[in-house]
């Protein structure tokens, strides 16, 4: 099978994300990268856990003063739902339905922007209401590094999706573009994996004290 070959729903292979050598390499290389990302986020989580609530004075806000459940709950639901919508996009990719795939990717991107907007609001709130900044305490540095790194991953994931959608809007699906969409959706799921640990370890455990 050639990467440039034109397909119909009938001739579209069952696993287009792994049908060419390039696609197989991409798939393998990307998972190796995700293994490395796991270690990267683990070091940030470890640093956060070691420096949680380590502030220079009693007037500094601690985790239990900062975090509010409704906002975190909303952000969690939005990101979790965006994970499902990208599964829908890959479902339509496997059925060779480019338009529906683009539609679901578009919904995923909108949810991603909603999440990012709430995170910016949240950080802004901490800085102005609590004077909890990157340099105000070791706790602040560790918190913004961990959660901010995740937020940067969300921003990168959004840019990745949008670039793929715009660049391939006329080309459609073939064995060159399908693996690209598939790998981007894997990245998006991984962002959700990291968030599951962030809302549990940072926010929920922070509220418990």
């Amino acid at each position: 099978m050639q990467a440039e070959e034109k397909f119909t729903p009938e001739t579209w292979p069952a696993s287009p994300e792994k049908s060419t050598l390039e696609a197989k390499n991409k798939f393998l290389g990307f998972w190796l990268f995700l293994g490395g990302e796991t270690v990267l986020f683990a070091t940030l989580f470890a640093t956060y856990l070691a420096l949680k609530d380590k502030v220079p004075g009693t007037d500094h806000a601690l985790a239990k003063d900062l975090f509010e459940m409704p906002l975190v709950f909303l952000m969690t639901m939005i990101l979790l739902t965006s994970s499902l919508t990208s599964v829908y996009a890959m479902y339509h990719m496997k059925n060779f339905d480019f338009k529906k795939m683009q539609l679901w990717l578009g919904i995923t991107v909108l949810l991603g922007f909603a999440f990012l907007g709430l995170e910016i609001y949240e950080f802004n709130h901490y800085v102005h209401e609590f004077h909890h900044t990157f340099t105000s305490s070791a706790f602040g540095s560790a918190f913004y590094t961990l959660v901010g790194f995740h937020g940067a991953h969300v921003a990168f994931g959004l840019a990745w999706f949008i670039t793929l959608m715009v660049r391939n809007s006329k080309r459609g699906l073939d064995l060159y573009t399908a693996p690209k969409f598939y790998v981007a959706s894997l990245y998006w799921h991984f962002i959700d994996v990291v968030w599951v640990f962030i809302f549990t370890v940072v926010y929920l455990m922070g509220m418990v004290g």
Partner: protein, 111 residues
């Protein structure tokens, strides 16, 4: 993969079979999603409404997170499918280093 091309010589039959299979998998994904939402609700409820000691809550919600991440990896990211052996090697190597790092930082930093 090339060997997963239509085999009956009648593409129409294969496409209907494959559409059905894809739709069935999508149904399982939606079930997975509902379970993930349920686990999330349990974690938030345990902290928000539960009257438990933090010695119980912390391990409990971490366990819920681990289960949810397994769903995400094995269903949403298809690790339960064939051809993910190298993927498991990569990811679990990462998880091993991650676990040792977190263990070290949470136990001996303030010793």
């Amino acid at each position: 993969m090339a060997n997963q091309q239509p085999t009956t010589g009648n593409p129409r039959v294969d496409i209907e079979y494959r559409r059905r299979k894809n739709a069935e998998e999508m149904r399982y994904q939606v079930i997975t999603f509902s379970l993930m939402i349920f686990l999330t609700l349990m974690a938030f409820a345990a902290v928000g409404f539960g009257d438990f000691s933090s010695w119980f809550i912390a391990p409990f919600i971490i366990l819920l997170a681990v289960v949810q991440v397994i769903f995400q990896l094995y269903y949403f990211m298809h690790m339960s499918h064939k051809g993910h052996e190298a993927v498991q090697l990569f990811l679990y190597s990462g998880v091993l280093v991650a676990a040792v790092t977190i263990l070290a930082f949470t136990t001996i930093i303030w010793w």
